[in-house]
């Protein structure tokens, strides 16, 4: 398939429309609105890698300020140093408050993006079993998406790289949450993701497009009515479950009425290289494809909120492509391990790849997509061997449109990570003073330019 430009007819196919092959009819001309020329949209990207480090000093620089030296595990970030802000000294207080109750990777996963007490006793043996608790509230990206997501075709996009655990979908496989006990799955298959977001370039006549859209909206409208008629006949819990489903159906219908903000944006399906999305030996290739699609999705303004989940918390993945044949999680429970350093440095290189790809895309305001974004490299635990929730990972790439300091390491004094969550939402234009549970309010001091 050739590179193609986005327009309604290509997008429709991606949304599951009826494919009718017609000749290429027209190429829409990119247009730039005044607002876009003034400033590119702010974007939030979450970049997750699991299992923490065993040596904080190998991960986080010891010196504050601008003249810091990278530890061995983050040394690859030197390449994007001037786009990077390191915030250390944040504690995941909400996770610590819950930590007595279950597998600590799951605890971290359910708290990292929500900062709120997790769910206990829904589908799990009891507190203390290995897999208690999906998140107890919305994750920061979903909250942000609920506020700014209507501006784009997709309010958010969730990318995964082999995110389903060896044991299936447990709390340690889910970091994104739409609300209490509503884990949100990432899409692990790059081909499905590409098609979902961009379609496959099949062209249809205008009339057919409008017709297919109208039919789908009509069907979804009927379905929503089905839901609302039924809800009154159900008990409270069942009703709530169906309401969540109905909300997704409504959002889908609304999405059909939105057009892309960037018609004419060219996407190239050659980013897809066809690997089986569960092939563990293809993990690097699958991740590269997902990053390429993520970059295209941001560049073409299909969404302003995205996440990329590499593997799963407590991941057992081996990394034979860098000579590590042992499972990741096992390695974290060995003392100072060069193998773990290799894994974290490999993940750092992936972050560099993503950052540079985002930086290569220039926007109408002259900045790069990266410059207008904030990418948080997050993790479910700071230190792997004892699952410490103090001094969690706070690597922020991009500057969110020049708002954040860059090239600097700012040391916090044990502030709750909820403040980082508040800070992130403020950076992308969502007001608010608190996020998650009662673990402090306000954003972080001293990390914005001029502070």
């Amino acid at each position: 398939m050739m590179p193609f430009r986005l327009n309604r007819r290509t997008l429709l196919r991606g949304l599951g429309g009826v494919a009718v092959g017609l000749p290429w009819l027209e190429v829409m001309t990119p247009h730039v609105t005044r607002a876009q020329a003034a400033a590119g949209p702010k974007r939030l990207v979450l970049f997750f890698t699991p299992n923490g480090t065993n040596d904080i000093n190998a991960f986080v620089p010891t010196q504050p300020g601008r003249n810091y030296t990278f530890g061995v595990e983050t040394a690859p970030l030197q390449e994007i140093r001037d786009k990077l802000l390191i915030v250390s000294g944040l504690n995941m207080e909400s996770a610590k408050a819950d930590a007595a109750e279950g597998d600590l990777h799951s605890v971290g996963m359910s708290h990292m993006l929500t900062g709120i007490e997790w769910v206990v006793g829904k589908g799990f043996d009891k507190p203390g079993s290995l897999d208690v608790g999906f998140a107890g509230g919305p994750s920061i990206d979903q909250y942000v998406a609920s506020k700014i997501g209507k501006a784009t075709q997709f309010s958010s996009l969730e990318f995964g790289v082999e995110s389903v655990s060896d044991y299936g979908v447990h709390p340690f496989s889910r970091m994104i949450s739409a609300g209490y006990n509503q884990p949100v799955p990432p899409e692990d298959d790059p081909a499905a993701m590409f098609k979902r977001v961009f379609g496959n370039g099949t062209q249809q006549a205008d009339q057919q497009i409008e017709q297919a859209l109208a039919q789908r909206k009509s069907v979804l409208d009927f379905v929503q009515d089905d839901f609302s008629r039924l809800e009154g006949k159900l008990g409270a819990h069942d009703k709530q479950k169906l309401e969540q489903h109905a909300t997704s159906v409504r959002d889908l219908e609304q999405r059909l009425s939105r057009t892309t903000n960037m018609p004419g944006c060219v996407v190239d399906p050659k980013v897809l290289t066809g690997e089986n999305p569960t092939d563990k030996l293809k993990f690097p290739e699958l991740g590269r494809q997902q990053m390429d699609i993520l970059v295209l999705a941001l560049k073409c303004d299909m969404t302003r909120v995205a996440s990329l989940q590499w593997s799963w918390a407590r991941s057992l993945l081996a990394f034979p492509w860098i000579g590590v044949n042992e499972g990741h999680h096992n390695i974290t429970h060995q003392d100072a391990s060069p193998k773990l350093s290799s894994i974290n440095a490999w993940y750092a290189k992936q972050l560099v790849y993503l950052a540079k790809a985002l930086d290569a895309e220039k926007e109408a305001d002259g900045k790069s997509v990266l410059d207008n974004s904030v990418v948080w490299w997050c993790g479910e635990t700071a230190r792997g061997y004892d699952h410490d929730f103090n001094n969690i990972r706070g690597f922020l790439v991009g500057g969110a449109g020049g708002q954040l300091k860059q090239g600097e390491h700012v040391v916090m004094k044990g502030e709750p990570h909820n403040k980082l969550l508040v800070h992130l939402m403020n950076l992308v234009g969502v007001p608010g003073d608190t996020f998650g549970g009662p673990f402090g309010s306000g954003s972080l001091a001293g990390i914005n330019v001029g502070t």
Binding site: F124, H170, N181, R216, L252
Partner: protein, 566 residues
């Protein structure tokens, strides 16, 4: 009154309910909503009178929670197969289910994301389009050019809708669907109008969920005939009811426990039973985990996806054979002296056996292997990338066979397993777990069980030495009700498990969780108790247990949990 049941872990509350919570205040010893129950020997939970505890007999029907259940991917694919003849398995592209208590059908963790809603739409469009293009006349069941389009549409909506929603449609919803068809047809033509109507039905909550009429006041009620039919079909066939079930539902044939039992017996004899039983074993034994694990390829180059699939097939063939052709009981699952292999698998295990690719029954050397537990699938699924894992194997036995999973390590503990060292045996590397008293309190529940499997390497092959030393496969059960004490090797371990009331009780609980799509609660104590007594009385017969699952309060009755939404 509180009675202690089963493992001694669950406090039952069989008679704490207020009087009158039984259906219509009826004598709970006579289930059924319509009069004329003709089998006075059968009491709630479908057991002969002497097998139900007096407390439970007096307590009335206690169905426990009845959360609404959404079709799993597995059920969706079987349902569209049975509904439309569609074999495309569209749900394979749906996002993976969240797992609760080890099962993908756990209602408490079922959620619908934007992604899944979109996938439902995509599948509905494809299914409806395909159904109308592949065999339009048969699908419609009428010829619109003969009796008229609208008449054909009405009959189609009634018949197809009834199957898709698994019950007779009421007049109002039939009319709504017809009006939707009519409006769509006026704009787009007949075929598109029908297609859109089918798309709507396939995305309706009445199709995607198993909706059961419920009293909103929290009173206990019998599930109605159609709901009972769907409970039966999804429990036993992982799919929608067939015509005979619909017929029985319509004619009141499922209003009595005896009527439900009669249908269950018929269904147990249908090949479709393999779908549900196969799915149970796959999830109980965590066979999907086998498909996902990997091994250090430098140490175990022969352990590839093909071998994993063959191991899975071995376990599937064995469990199916035991349940449907063999003794059918727990003893046979644990102690069966045979298995199934083909040549590649036999070669991998290093045994002589079948000479071709077809799986054949193979008699085991019972000094080495016996029953399920020593099969490659279970041994390989629970091991580390480069060595066995006594912890993972012990945990697996505690969680899945004894239903007593130990808690995770305390937060303050530096949980650092021993580094692999080819010169030291696994048993030696894990001694710290038993020396340090903090570790030992939990690890003695797991490690000494898992060490009993040391004759099986990380990919499930039998071995007699490690690191140049003979294997020591001595193990011990701690913290059980009735099998504490030492054993030597997995064969003896299986023998101990086979004698344990905990194992029987656990298998009952596992079937409860899978069969009813939820965890057991205090209100289920009598159901669990009755199933346990029946299972014991049948000498652990799985087919019998399946039938009994259709006779419990949890199956025959429902109640609407009235707790406030969180």
């Amino acid at each position: 009154m509180r009675i202690v049941l089963g493992l001694g872990l669950m406090l039952a509350a069989c008679s704490t309910n207020a009087p009158g919570q039984g259906p219509n205040g009826m004598n709970p010893a006579v289930p059924g909503s319509g009069g004329g129950v003709s089998d006075p020997q059968v009491v709630p939970n479908g057991l002969p009178v002497d097998l139900v505890s007096p407390e439970c007999r007096a307590a009335g029907a206690q169905p426990g929670a009845s959360p609404i259940r959404r079709l799993t991917r597995y059920e969706y694919d079987h349902t569209v197969h049975d509904l439309l003849g569609d074999t495309s398995q569209p749900a394979k592209a749906f996002t993976d289910e969240e797992v609760g208590l080890g099962y993908t059908n756990n209602a408490d963790v079922q959620t619908v994301s934007d992604l899944l809603a979109e996938q439902y739409e995509t599948a509905a469009i494809a299914l409806a389009t395909s159904a109308l293009t592949s065999n339009r006349a048969a699908f419609l069941g009428c010829d619109p050019s003969v009796g008229g389009q609208d008449a054909c549409a009405r009959s189609f909506i009634t018949s197809f809708g009834g199957k898709a929603y698994r019950r007779a449609l009421d007049a109002e919803e039939t009319e709504r669907l017809f009006q939707f068809y009519a409006k769509s047809t006026a704009t787009y033509g007949f075929d598109t109008g029908v297609r859109m109507t089918v798309e709507a039905m396939l995305q309706s909550p009445h199709f995607l969920y198993r909706v059961e009429p419920t009293l909103l006041d929290g009173k206990v009620q019998r599930v109605n005939g159609y709901a009972a039919a769907a409970r039966l079909s999804y429990l036993l066939w992982s799919s929608m009811p067939d015509d005979a079930l619909f017929q029985a539902a319509q004619s009141g044939g499922l209003d009595t426990a005896a009527g439900v039992s009669e249908q269950a017996q018929r269904m147990l004899a249908d090949p479709k039973i393999n779908r549900a039983v196969g799915k149970f074993f796959s999830e109980w034994l965590e066979l999907d985990t086998l498909g996902r694990v990997s091994r250090d390829a430098t140490m175990f180059p022969a352990f590839n996806n093909d071998i994993k699939q063959l191991m899975r097939t071995e376990t599937e063939r064995f469990t199916t054979d035991v349940v449907f052709s063999g003794a059918g009981d727990l003893n046979a699952l644990l102690l069966g002296k045979y298995t199934f292999m083909n040549k590649p698998l036999a070669d991998f295990y290093g045994v002589t056996g079948p000479q071709g690719d077809a799986f054949e029954r193979v008699e085991l050397d019972t000094s080495k292997r016996v029953g399920l537990l020593t099969q490659g699938s279970l041994m390989a699924a629970h091991a580390n990338t480069n060595q066995t894992s006594p912890v993972a194997r012990g945990y697996f036995v505690r969680a899945r066979f004894l239903c007593t999973p130990p808690p995770p390590p305390p937060k303050t503990l530096n949980v650092t397993p021993p580094e692999f060292n080819p010169n030291v045996s696994t048993r030696e590397r894990f001694t710290l777990h038993r020396k340090d008293p903090v570790c030992a309190s939990c690890h003695q529940m797991m490690d000494p069980v898992g060490l009993g499997f040391e004759n099986f390497d990380a990919v499930g092959r039998y071995r007699t030495e490690e690191a140049g030393k003979p294997i020591d496969a001595s193990g011990e059960f701690f913290g059980t009700d009735d099998i504490n004490g030492p054993f030597n090797g997995a064969v003896e371990m299986a023998g101990k498990l086979a004698t344990s009331a905990m194992t029987r009780s656990c298998l009952v609980k596992q079937w409860f969780r899978y069969g009813y799509g939820r965890g057991e609660s205090e209100m289920d104590a009598c159901t669990i108790d009755a199933l346990g007594r029946a299972f014991t009385a049948s000498n652990g017969n799985v087919r019998d247990l399946l039938m009994r699952l259709t006779q419990t309060d949890a199956f025959l009755y429902r109640t609407n949990e009235t707790g406030a939404a969180p």
